[in-house]
């Protein structure tokens, strides 16, 4: 596939790089490679890189004076040999308790979809999800890979307080609320894992390109893990992902 990439100035300090407007693994891979190459470049004075499904925004330290020059520099970086970049992705196992105590929308979802509860849980936990990027809120993972049989429209009225760790489905997406917040997604379970910890130098263990696999656990296991995590005696299991 010939990759069509466009460059637009975004305010005084940023350049928005956009790929075709679709969600695809191939585009994600290209964005991740480009991002790594930019990070390797010592001559580019940037303060941040913001990733989206089909975009990468380069935020410079100073105002952009010559846009064309910056774009040419970025194009040259994009062309660098890919072998220079070593990328390692992990697969994280995230325990989720789908008990009705947490999965408060599961029964309604089963009724409306004619799937039984166990089937929704099985479809949700057997898939392998890719982290496209982290955004919106600290530690909120944008995941791709939800089985189309369990797409569920967002709820008509958002809830004001969705607890931290809630696992939910909103339209074609599934996600984990890293902190208590308002939210309109259908709630199917809860994980005791913390997705954002400001005390860590790396505040979120997952990164764009990693994989997430949910594992169904009982309420007893949830409670045990919750204690271990609060005592900082538990890390989510990770394995190196080999493509």
């Amino acid at each position: 596939m010939v990759k069509q990439i466009s460059y637009k100035q975004f305010g005084a300090k940023a350049i928005l790089i956009e790929w075709q407007s679709i969600i695809s693994d191939e585009i994600l891979q290209d964005i991740l490679l480009f991002k790594s190459k930019i990070n390797l470049d010592k001559n580019i004075a940037i303060i941040d890189l913001v990733q989206g499904y089909n975009s990468l925004t380069v935020v410079y330290k100073n105002d952009i004076i010559k846009f064309e020059e910056k774009v040419n520099q970025l194009k040259a970086i994009y062309q660098l040999p890919t072998q220079l970049v070593k990328q390692q992705f992990y697969q994280w196992e995230i325990p989720v308790c789908y008990d009705l105590q947490f999965g408060i929308d599961l029964e309604e979802m089963a009724t409306s979809s004619k799937l039984d509860l166990e089937e929704i849980i099985r479809l949700h936990s057997e898939a392998l999800y890719r982290v496209y990027f982290i955004g919106f809120l600290p530690g909120f993972l944008y995941l791709g890979g939800l089985n189309s049989n369990i797409f569920f429209d967002r709820r008509p009225n958002p809830r004001l307080n969705v607890p931290k760790g809630t696992v939910a489905i909103g339209g074609k997406q599934t996600g984990i609320y890293p902190n208590a917040s308002a939210g309109g997604w259908n709630i199917i379970g809860r994980t005791p894992i913390h997705f954002f910890d400001a005390e860590n130098e790396n505040p979120c263990f997952a990164k764009a390109g990693d994989y997430i696999k949910f594992k169904s656990i009982s309420i007893e296991e949830f409670k045990e893990l919750e204690i271990a995590i609060n005592e900082k005696n538990h890390q989510p299991l990770k394995t190196l992902y080999n493509a």
Binding site: Q9, S21, S55, G135, N179
Partner: protein, 283 residues
């Protein structure tokens, strides 16, 4: 230490903000009116990155527990030291037990209190700026003790206050660039956007300002992409949202304008029912 005796509407510690953590979804934060915060640090000859207190709409009382010098910039909330009115934009000597109050709002929405050497609260992910998920709270509370260096010798040399440009508070033209999706608007929508006097709704905070006037549109939603302080989003219902310093890192609404840094600072001094026009400048 600075002891908080009374908190007003909202006061928080702010500096230049958190950079380099967008890949973890961390907002930038920092002083809403960075121009005024910078000015307070500059007058005290502090580092640009020193942390200051951002006071929103006055009505609070602080007590100093050690000698220092301070400077207050930004909005005028009738600051008084031990009951006597003090000037803005000027170095003020402070002695142990002095009490500073902010009361009636004369102009502006946010003022900045800087101390010599800055406030020495915890730096988390490269910044001292308050943001609830990162610093446990969005605001300072009654009884909080905020550390700063004690100053051994305070110069008694009288300093004059710096004249500031009142336009910073009165400006009704908010300068911006065309946003990445500006070109998706048709001519009539562009005309509406650039000719309408917009008013700020009650729904305005450090995260963003919703505007009252609707821009009817059928623009498609985006695949989630980057947003920044100063990004103007256009929702499906036609509401314009100007994102401010605590905004999220990504969003899915079309980004039709991007405010200049100075325009963000000017907007930070406006609140509910204040009005302005957008003025597009060329990149």
């Amino acid at each position: 230490m600075l002891k908080i005796l009374k908190t007003g509407f909202l006061s928080s510690i702010q500096d230049k903000g958190r950079f380099g953590f967008a890949s973890k979804g961390v907002p930038i934060s920092g002083a809403m009116d960075a121009y005024s915060a910078d000015l307070a640090n500059a007058i005290l000859n502090n580092a640009e990155t020193d942390a200051v207190i951002e006071v929103t709409l006055g009505n609070c009382t602080f007590q100093f527990l050690a000698d220092t010098t301070i400077c207050i910039t930004g909005g005028d909330f009738t600051p008084k030291l031990n009951g006597t009115t003090i000037q803005l934009n000027k170095i003020i000597p402070i002695f142990k037990t002095d009490i500073l109050t902010f009361q009636k709002v004369n102009y502006g929405v946010r003022c900045y209190l800087a101390v010599k050497g800055g406030f020495l609260t915890d730096q988390i992910l490269g910044s001292k700026s308050y943001y609830s998920i990162i610093t446990n709270s969005n605001s300072i509370h009654k009884g909080d003790l905020l550390p700063y260096h004690e100053l051994r010798e305070i110069s008694s040399k009288i300093q004059s206050s710096i004249k500031i440009n009142k336009n910073h508070y009165k400006e009704t033209e908010i300068a911006c660039y065309k946003g990445p999706e500006f070109h998706s608007l048709d001519d009539e929508q562009k005309k509406f956007l650039l000719e309408t006097t917009f008013t700020i709704s009650k729904d305005n905070s450090r995260m963003g300002y919703k505007l009252n006037e609707l821009l009817v549109n059928e623009l498609p939603q985006l695949l989630t992409s980057s947003v920044f302080p100063g990004t103007v989003q256009l929702t499906k219902s036609g509401t314009l949202i100007v994102l401010m310093r605590d905004c999220q890192t990504t969003g899915g609404y079309p980004r039709i304008l991007q405010l200049t840094e100075q325009a963000i600072n000017q907007l930070a001094q406006k609140t509910s029912s204040d009005s302005f026009k957008f003025k597009v400048k060329l990149i």
